[in-house]
């Protein structure tokens, strides 16, 4: 019995930070909004600064915000919805938006253009959360993936960094082998995850294919999947990448990454994290484009967002939630407070206004993105429902290849079979 009571006590004290529910309404006619998102303490500080400004400007509204690590966020959010306790405003993963929207859980923002002004967003940014003629979220910021190389290490080992605008996948391999060789395998040239959809999607687009088609099916061919798995097998075999089993799941933080530890010299990151990675890796990072962009059939890179802001259709305070959303998207003070922690502001107008006040490192990442936005990039489509299942099959199949339990050919076929089954088409 005592043991049970102890367990119950543990259970209670364990839910300090994650989000449990917004039940306590404050007194005095004010409206309390509940807003949930994921990120680290630094992002929390910046977000709170923006919310403080919002609450000063809107005395009738208080915002109760809850945040946690990105890993368990998805499960917690689902539980909140299941309990009938949906947050008013929430960070929404790109691969989850349709899981919620298709089931009527999110508010369509199209009829609310008076409350949330999306005219400052580029076509590409506005359509990121478009499903048919409805819009279920606004990008919390814009980012892309980029290749970062630790210059301290390349200088130390005397390896030349290739031209980041024109380099090919073969150049990446050559470069990485040189680092591994020069360091006597103390540092591997590169590592990035074969199972991260964002990485794979760029590669697929470079082959002239859409990973997801406009009607929500898998557009990637078996040949392209074989090529993707082959790329990793070759890089592991040549020493460009560390051997199978070397990389462990160390969580999402930059500080815990292998790049920060100095055991790899380069990796792919979301550009909005450039600053934290740079600090974590000792302050000397170069930002390159993904390899293969100039050799490919078409451009692979795209402008994405770390997450969307969505409003729950069940929210009791929709007007206030939309007001807060509009503040985050269109108020320069909000962007000044949050900086680029969630990427470059979605509104081009706000992004231009914000740029001069950014640090040089932030400006570098912002320029990278403004550059990309100015180019003609093929559109990508929202992740269809079932894509979280596709993500998990990709993870296990990529591991099968890594440990040579499946050939790239077998893996490509297995992945497409699993993917089609998950999407039901």
């Amino acid at each position: 019995m005592a043991g049970l009571a102890g367990l119950a006590g543990l259970g209670l004290s364990a839910c300090g930070r994650g989000f449990g529910g917004g039940d306590d309404e404050p007194e005095g006619g004010t409206v309390q909004l509940n807003m949930v998102w994921w990120g680290d303490a630094k992002r929390a500080e910046k977000t709170q600064a923006a919310l403080d400004i919002f609450q000063r400007k809107n005395p009738g509204i208080t915002v109760k915000t809850e945040y946690q690590d990105s890993g368990p966020y998805k499960d917690k959010l689902a539980t909140r919805f299941a309990a009938g306790d949906a947050p008013d405003l929430m960070a929404m993963r790109m691969d989850s938006v349709r899981e919620y929207a298709d089931r009527g859980a999110l508010l369509d923002l199209t009829p609310h253009s008076g409350a949330v002004d999306l005219s400052g967003l580029s076509e590409g940014a506005r359509t990121l959360a478009a499903v048919g003629d409805k819009t279920y979220g606004v990008p919390a910021g814009l980012n892309a993936i980029g290749f970062v190389i630790n210059k301290t290490l390349t200088d130390k080992f005397g390896v030349q960094i290739p031209d980041g605008n024109t380099w090919s996948w073969a150049d990446l391999s050559t470069f990485s082998q040189a680092v591994t060789k020069a360091s006597g395998k103390k540092v591997y040239g590169t590592h990035f995850d074969a199972a991260t959809l964002a990485n794979l999607i760029v590669f697929v687009r470079q082959q002239g294919e859409d990973f997801y088609t406009a009607d929500g099916a898998l557009g990637v061919t078996e040949a392209t999947m074989v090529a993707w798995f082959d790329l990793f097998n070759q890089m592991r075999a040549s020493g460009a990448m560390p051997p199978a089993g070397f990389i462990e799941d160390v969580g999402a933080s930059a500080a815990a990454s292998y790049l920060a530890k100095g055991s790899i010299a380069s990796q792919i990151i979301p550009t909005n994290n450039f600053l934290v990675y740079k600090e974590a890796a000792g302050g000397n990072l170069a930002l390159l484009r993904i390899p293969g962009e100039t050799q490919a059939r078409r451009r692979g890179q795209s402008v994405d967002c770390p997450h969307l802001w969505s409003v729950a259709s069940a929210s009791k305070h929709q007007a206030e939630a939309l007001k807060l959303l509009n503040f985050l998207v269109n108020d320069i003070d909000a962007s000044k407070a949050t900086g680029t922690t969630r990427g470059v502001p979605a509104s081009s107008k706000i992004a231009e206004e914000l740029k001069p006040s950014l640090t040089p490192d932030d400006q570098l990442a912002t320029d990278y993105l403004i550059g990309l936005q100015g180019e003609k990039l093929p559109r990508s489509y929202t992740y269809p429902p079932g894509s979280s299942k596709i993500q998990s099959s990709l993870e296990s199949i990529a591991t099968e290849v890594e440990f040579k339990r499946q050939t790239p050919q077998q893996a490509a076929k297995a992945f497409l079979d699993a993917g089609r089954k998950a999407l039901g088409k």
């Binding site: 998805k74 462990e248 799941d249 440990f403």
Partner: protein
């Protein structure tokens, strides 16, 4: 445990001197106190009973957490027949259970017998060996193990002294489950403490008599220790089987919730959790929970049937 007399009074000693009416009043008061102490359990029960029946209903529905559940009869159970990942999760759970439970019981019994030699400082040793059981399922220890068994971890460092290139204990699909089994065996403390208590109840005169008759240590173990300890072994076996079938934390933490590498640590409960909370498939997850209940009940019943042939009750 103290005897469960309802009056709580030592029967026939004090009670005889007390008149009947106050005795009943005293009994009622005692009962009330008893129920009062049970109250937290009753309240706790509500949190078990309601989800229990809710999940039984949900098992027959298509429920995506966001919309109202739709009755689909046996649809979920039919889907389970054709789910390769479900088969994989059963395989992982069965291997884990049938390897780690016997091994951990053998280790627990071995250590308990060692500690039963009348050594000095027994409470200290007992606590030290018991400690991992308290911590073994905890997040911190699993993370620590992840570090110890890391690619550059202590274990591979040790193997390196002998010129062995250790595998990725937690990242290689051929080794990840083994690592978790080792972790499980390490938490042999709670069956060990129970074994130790059982061993101390075996009267020493049996061993003395056997020694006089010239029985070897092994013979004594086979013919005295094992039969007299068999009810305890049986109890530990049932307990360990039930908890092992329900393993979740180790797989969840070690793989970051994915059941990886390559689904090699996808315990049944972990897959159930993924279905329910990541794939918006709560009806299916509920059906899985009930299938697990049936599996555990079947193995427990089987054990009770088999117990007739090997468990010896000395009364």
């Amino acid at each position: 445990m103290t005897s469960g007399t309802t009056t709580g009074l030592p029967a026939g000693v004090v009670a005889r001197d007390v008149p009947a009416a106050p005795r009943r009043r005293a009994k009622r008061r005692k009962d009330r106190a008893g129920y009062l102490f049970l109250l937290p359990w009753f309240i706790g029960m509500l949190f078990t009973v309601i989800p229990f029946f809710a999940s039984l209903y949900l098992a027959f529905t298509d429920y995506n957490l966001l919309n109202a559940p739709q009755w689909i009869g046996l649809g979920n159970f039919r889907e389970m027949l054709d789910d390769p990942l479900l088969r994989q999760s059963l395989k992982v759970t069965f291997i884990y259970t049938f390897v780690s439970v016997p091994l951990s019981l053998v280790v627990a019994l071995g250590v308990a017998m060692m500690l039963n030699q009348g050594i000095k400082g027994l409470p200290v040793y007992r606590a030290v060996f018991y400690l991992p059981s308290l911590l073994g399922g905890s997040v911190a220890i699993v993370l620590l193990w992840k570090y110890i068994f890391g690619f550059d971890g202590i274990v591979n460092g040790f193997l390196g002294w002998f010129g062995i290139d250790g595998p990725g204990w937690t990242t290689d699909p051929d080794y990840a489950l083994t690592t978790l089994i080792i972790l499980h065996i390490w938490t042999f403390g709670s069956p060990m403490v129970i074994f130790l208590a059982g061993l101390r109840q075996i009267p020493t005169m049996y061993y003395e008599a056997a020694a006089v008759d010239g029985a070897s240590r092994w013979r004594q173990f086979r013919s005295i220790t094992l039969p007299l300890l068999s009810p305890i072994i049986f109890f530990n076996l049932i307990q360990s089987l039930i908890s092992s079938f329900q393993t979740f934390t180790q797989g969840f933490i070690m793989s970051g919730g994915t059941g990886g590498p390559a689904d090699s640590t996808i315990f049944y409960n972990l897959y159930l959790y993924q279905q329910g909370f990541s794939q918006f498939h709560m009806g299916y997850a509920s059906a899985m929970a009930w299938v697990l209940l049936v599996i555990i009940a079947a193995f427990t019943a089987l054990n009770f049937l088999a117990a007739k042939y090997w468990v010896f009750y000395d009364n």
